[in-house]
């Protein structure tokens, strides 16, 4: 066992590269064979290195201090102030750059927040709008008969010639319409009769007459029909209801008759707004329940005056039905070219024989003038 002091001495010599060749060989062998000695060699090496570093730094410090002592501080101060002068010349650029470097992380965060907020809001708004659009769809209250063809066939069992024809080629769209004048002019919605090959009207008794479209106004969604040279159509002397073109007040009790199914259906409600879908000033909003097929039906006030034509409803809202104001009916009629009417002007009456009747009796009289409008189209 080699004694500590001698081994320490060897390590020092080894570190200084002063070992003779034989000593070095013996030292290496010892180091390799004895881990304890190897560890001691390592520690001493570290210690010597730390001492050397310590000395080096102390020495360097004193050199720096010597240099600093010799330094012409006035010149240095001068130069330092020139640094700031040069900077001041470019103050604008310098300041902006300083601000940029100082606030860069904050700016980055702020910018990301702004971006996320902006696009998030945009997305939410768009999502809301699109979902809302779908919900707020204005639905036109015509009835697609295709789906109920079978039941319709079952109902129409009286076989007269016209009904047989219907069974062969049943109507594809149905709505309501009502007489404008006793001699066979009717009004309904354009959306019911558009693209029609032929139009028939059916009374509450089940009588069917062929009608032709005299005029169709897309803007107001109003169409004028005329019973087409049908001798079976009994010309009335006078219509039970009158037409009221003036504005009707909010809260007015109103009712309607229409054909959401094969049978005439009565509906009652009140006038809830003087404008229609999305502020449409040509229509009223009415709190009344309607279904597909009610379109084109008359909207009457308490006294039995026609104040509008049912045209559609807002699907997202309960009881928001829209009716075109009678005023626009008059406008539409006056826009009809006279030759389409074959010089027979539409004689519309403001007289109203219903005012004093009870509702039941009013309805009995009115329903005679309300027709189901059946429309036939080519299969596309």
């Amino acid at each position: 066992m080699i004694d500590h002091q001698k081994f320490t001495d060897w390590i020092d010599k080894w570190l200084r590269n002063e070992l003779t060749e034989t000593e070095r060989l013996e030292f290496e062998t010892l180091r390799r064979s004895d881990p304890v000695l190897a560890q001691r060699a390592l520690e001493q090496q570290q210690l010597a290195k730390a001492l050397k570093n310590y000395g080096q730094r102390t020495d360097f410090r004193s050199r720096l201090n010597r240099i600093h002592a010799r330094l012409d501080m006035d010149a240095v101060r001068d130069e330092a102030s020139q640094v700031s002068k040069v900077r001041k010349l470019h103050r604008n650029g310098g300041t902006i750059r300083q601000l940029w470097q100082t606030y860069r992380p904050i700016l980055a965060v702020a910018a990301s927040v702004a971006l996320i907020t902006t696009f998030g809001t945009l997305m939410l708004v768009r999502q809301y709008q699109s979902s809302h659009k779908q919900q707020e769809q204005y639905s036109m209250m015509r009835r697609d008969l295709q789906a109920i063809r079978r039941s319709q066939n079952a109902i129409l069992q009286d076989l007269n010639a016209r009904e047989r024809a219907l069974q062969i080629n049943p109507g594809q769209v149905a709505g309501s319409g009502f007489l404008l004048s006793p001699d066979g002019y009717l009004v309904t919605n354009t959306h019911i009769i558009q693209d029609a090959d032929s139009v028939y009207i059916q009374s509450t008794h089940g009588d069917i007459y062929k009608a032709k479209v005299v005029y169709a106004d897309r803007k107001y969604d109003l169409a004028i029909l005329q019973v087409h040279e049908d001798s079976a159509f009994r010309v009335k002397t006078v219509l039970p209801y009158g037409f009221e073109a003036g504005p009707t007040d909010l809260g007015e009790r109103v009712f309607t008759l229409g054909f959401p199914r094969e049978e005439i259906v009565y509906g009652e409600g009140y006038l809830s707004s003087k404008t229609g879908y999305r502020g449409d000033s040509t229509a009223y909003q009415v709190a009344i329940s309607v279904n597909p097929g009610n379109s084109g039906g008359p909207l009457l006030d308490e006294k039995g005056n026609v104040i509008g034509i049912i045209s559609g409803k807002q699907t997202s809202t309960e009881g928001a039905t829209f009716a075109i104001k009678t005023d626009y009916l008059f406008r539409a009629i006056s826009a009809i070219p006279t030759d389409s009417l074959k010089n027979n002007s539409i004689r519309m009456s403001r007289k109203n024989g219903l005012a004093k009747l009870a509702r039941k009796d009013q309805i009995k009289k009115i329903q005679e003038s309300v027709y189901m409008v059946k429309v036939f189209k080519h299969e596309k």
């Binding site: 002091q5 010149a75 640094v83």
Partner: protein
């Protein structure tokens, strides 16, 4: 010192001079970038003495990197020194409890994180060694310094300290070294 008698040497020559211990080059280096650091420190609530301390520590970082052959300069020497000084000054400011202090910069910055981490490790070692040597006391301290730092031979030490023979000196050195080892490794656990 005026412009005319300033040395016109490149940064590379300055670094080479630093590595081989040229006083002339070190002086030039010191002179060249001190105004920049002085300006930085004075503009950020420091004094001239602060500037001196920070700049000297910066040069120590550079010097120890150069002498250990581990300097990898990816930017101008000026930028490197500025960045190191800036970081050291920020650290100093935070020690003086001025948290979140942001400096007004005039120069570009370089990434000196790794170098400063190395420097901190060396700093700890240095402080530990200084402390150990202080506690070791004389004559052990001078004896070990003479042997390990100034690389005097045992013969020189024997004469300097007046030992009767070299073996006596060796025994003395051995005892001193063992004491220093205990002091140093009681704290030092690295590598």
């Amino acid at each position: 010192m005026t412009e005319s008698n300033r040395l016109h040497v490149s940064d590379d020559q300055l670094l080479a001079g630093l590595a081989n211990g040229s006083d002339e080059m070190l002086e030039e280096l010191y002179r060249r970038y001190f105004p920049m650091v002085l300006h930085l420190i004075q503009n950020n609530s420091g004094t001239e003495d602060d500037a001196k301390d920070i700049y000297q520590e910066t040069l120590i970082v550079l010097y120890e990197k150069v002498t250990s052959d581990s300097l990898e300069l990816h930017c101008q020497l000026k930028t490197y020194l500025y960045s190191v000084s800036r970081r050291l000054w920020l650290k100093q400011l935070s020690k003086r409890s001025r948290n979140g202090y942001s400096l007004i910069d005039t120069e570009d910055l370089a990434d000196v994180d790794a170098d400063l981490i190395d420097h901190e490790a060396r700093d700890r070692q240095f402080d530990l060694m200084a402390d150990s040597l202080d506690r070791l006391g004389e004559p052990c301290r001078t004896l070990l310094e003479d042997f390990y730092i100034r690389h005097l031979s045992m013969q020189d030490i024997t004469e300097k300290f007046g030992y009767t023979n070299a073996d006596n000196a060796k025994t003395q050195k051995y005892k001193c070294l063992m004491r220093l080892k205990r002091l140093f490794f009681s704290v030092f656990k690295e590598e």
